[in-house]
């Protein structure tokens, strides 16, 4: 006498780094001492799912027979985390205890389930839905059953049937064949709200003509930028304008960026792919791990959250030395490797660095309006917190002074972000066209060989630059960076050959090196 064991196998997805991997949820129910055990390296949130699942099943009106239930999450050598296995576990338990009889020919082998359960049987959104859906498609699954709030995020992935569900009951009806949920409508990227959400518009900035121009150049060529200026001169406000003048994310860029935000749980519920470039502004007390990524599970840091967008570091010298030096690798390679005990992950981190700082501890060194009361030594110490190698990676350096009162009152309304964005977009198109056979997209990414190939100078410009190199004791690297910036300025003008005025403007953006860090 006895109850024959019953086995169920449901597919789900886990996330490692920014990649999803398939997880088989095996459920075995048999007579004997009743209870539930979860094995296969679950972390606490997965182990707790037993209690959520039991409550959700009972509250969906199904009797859960007392059986000895063993749940295995395969592959058993990868650590499973997060509550997204609640739904596949619940489905497996229902089938193994015969509380749910699947419809004839239901293909569990081609269907992926994920979602968090609440005690009353509702299904909550989970982190990492986008990478999971992408991987499900790559592995040849045909249907994904996911929480309704995650459906829009996945709606741009082609070739999959996305079934949004909001309660366990809906899933039960789907599996027993009584009612199939309405599939999520396939959406193209263009269909999603294409409006760039502008938080600060350029027309709100009074004066600061030089700084505005530098922002435009930085945006057009993807250059890193450093602003040095007295307190209250508008550095932060200028930086906040940047996402508004950058071109919107392309579909591929959006997938990359949304993936990272998805696993960090930074997407607002019900939102789709990201359209506006991310703007990440960590406080200067940020640790290396929070900037680069880390924690037990090697989660992405601010540099990766700013992927394809802007990383703004206000009060640059106040950041810890270790944090600033750690930025060098992502700045150079556009990718960071995070290694921790349990996980190793690589995250993309190709961002524009915009930094702002005061020229000295009191803030007024070099100001036209107020005298500085710092000693030479204090200034030197302050500036030296920003290392040479880091400065070397910043193409544009500008000084931002306070705007005089009459300029605030008199000046006409300035150009809006939309106008500037149009010019930036045009310059970006020129670059895209020129570099279509190369591995890079923007002028900022040019290597030495490419600089020689693409930055052709007029005769005037060459003489001017040679004189500047002489006078400013510029290094070869400094010279190359001037050329890259000059290339961008010429692109903004729509010209193929760099003229002397383009070169002259580019040289200006190097002068701060000379003034402060001699």
């Amino acid at each position: 006498m006895g109850t024959e064991g019953m086995m169920a196998r449901i597919y789900s997805m886990g996330v490692n780094g920014t990649e999803g991997y398939p997880v088989q949820v095996e459920v075995f129910a048999v007579g004997g001492i009743p209870g539930t055990e979860i094995i296969g390296l679950p972390d606490t949130s997965v182990r707790e799912s037993r209690d959520r699942v039991n409550a959700a099943i009972i509250n969906s009106g199904i009797e859960l027979l007392p059986r000895r239930i063993t749940i295995n999450l395969a592959p058993a050598d990868l650590k499973k985390e997060g509550p997204s296995f609640d739904l596949p576990i619940a489905v497996g338990v229902l089938i193994a205890t015969r509380g749910l009889i699947p419809a004839e020919g239901f293909e569990f082998g081609k269907t992926v389930f994920f979602g968090e359960l609440s005690l009353d049987g509702k299904i909550r959104a989970v982190n990492g839905a986008l990478p999971m859906v992408i991987s499900a498609k790559e592995r040849g699954f045909q249907t994904v059953v996911l929480p309704e709030e995650n459906a829009k995020e996945a709606s741009c992935i082609e070739g999959l049937r996305i079934l949004p569900v909001s309660t366990l009951k809906e899933v039960i009806h789907y599996i027993d064949g009584s009612e199939i949920p309405v599939p999520q409508r396939q959406m193209t990227y263009e269909e999603l709200n294409r409006e760039n959400i502008i938080t600060v518009d350029m027309c709100q900035i009074r004066g600061q003509k030089a700084a505005r121009r530098a922002m435009e150049v930085a945006a057009a060529g993807g250059h890193n930028m450093l602003m040095i200026g007295v307190p209250g001169s508008g550095k932060t406000m200028l930086a906040r304008c940047l996402p508004g003048i950058l071109p919107p994310l392309t579909f591929e860029e959006s997938l990359e960026t949304t993936r990272i935000h998805s696993i960090c749980g930074r997407l607002s519920p019900g939102s789709g792919l990201m359209i506006t470039r991310p703007f990440s502004a960590p406080h200067h007390s940020a640790s290396v791990a929070s900037l680069i990524g880390g924690g037990q599970n090697a989660k992405p840091g601010e540099v990766s959250l700013a992927h394809n967008g802007v990383l703004f570091l206000d009060e640059l010298p106040e950041f810890s030395r270790a944090a600033l030096e750690a930025l060098r690798q992502p700045l150079e390679d556009g990718i960071v490797s995070v290694s921790r005990i349990r996980h190793q992950a690589q995250y993309q981190s190709s961002f524009m660095l915009i930094a702002a700082m005061n020229p000295c501890p009191c803030g007024y060194y070099g100001s036209t309006s107020r005298a500085c009361r710092c000693t030479k030594n204090e200034i030197r110490k302050y500036l030296d917190r920003v290392s040479g190698p880091l400065l070397d990676r910043i193409d544009l350096q500008i000084e931002v002074d306070a705007v005089p009162v009459q300029e605030i009152n008199d000046s006409l309304p300035a150009e809006s972000s939309a106008t500037v964005a149009a010019r930036v977009a045009a310059a970006r198109r020129v670059q895209q066209e020129r570099y279509r056979n190369e591995e890079f997209y923007t002028n900022a990414q040019l290597n030495n060989a490419a600089i020689r190939k693409y930055c052709r100078l007029s005769a005037d410009a060459e003489t001017l630059l040679n004189a500047a190199v002489e006078a400013m004791h510029m290094s070869m690297r400094g010279y190359n960076r001037v050329l890259k910036v000059a290339r961008t300025i010429a692109d903004l003008d729509g010209e193929d050959i760099i003229s002397s005025s383009h070169a002259a403007e580019a040289v200006q953006y190097r002068e701060l090196d000379q003034k402060y860090w001699r």
């Binding site: 006498m1 109850t3 007579g31 004997g32 001492i33 009743p34 209870g35 007392p66 000895r68 239930i69």
Partner: protein, 122 residues
């Protein structure tokens, strides 16, 4: 005045009567005792083996007896149940753990009160 022991016996008899007559179960054992645990009543409900703990309370309010079946008590019941099942060679029969609280005239019956397989009980 009954002693505590007599109260216990009376409660178990009342519970057995209730389960057999009202719930249609069949009684297999009373006061099953082993070195590492004991069970008040062992019955069968159809195919399912039911291990029942009976708590008799005269004074405290209802629910007090149920709360007394804490994790330590559950472990003792589990141990005895495992020995009993092994003795009978019932390795894959469905099993259930019930609690009955006798409270004067009132009988509180909790079928499937706890499921002791899994990490919590190790």
């Amino acid at each position: 005045m009954k002693t505590t022991y007599q109260t216990g016996i009376w409660g178990e008899n009342t519970a057995e009567q209730y389960l057999v007559q009202n719930k249609g179960m069949v009684c297999l054992e009373r006061r099953y005792r082993t070195k590492c645990g004991e069970i008040d009543l062992i019955l069968t409900d159809g195919d399912t083996v039911v291990f029942t703990e009976v708590k008799t309370r005269k004074t405290a309010g209802p629910g007090n007896g149920l709360a007394a079946v804490n994790i330590r008590k559950q472990k003792r019941i589990l141990n005895a149940a495992l020995i009993y099942l092994m003795h009978r060679k019932w390795t894959s029969r469905p099993v259930r753990f019930d609690i009955v609280e006798i409270h004067g005239e009132e009988i509180i019956y909790i079928p499937d009160a706890f499921r002791p397989y899994g990490k919590y009980y190790h």
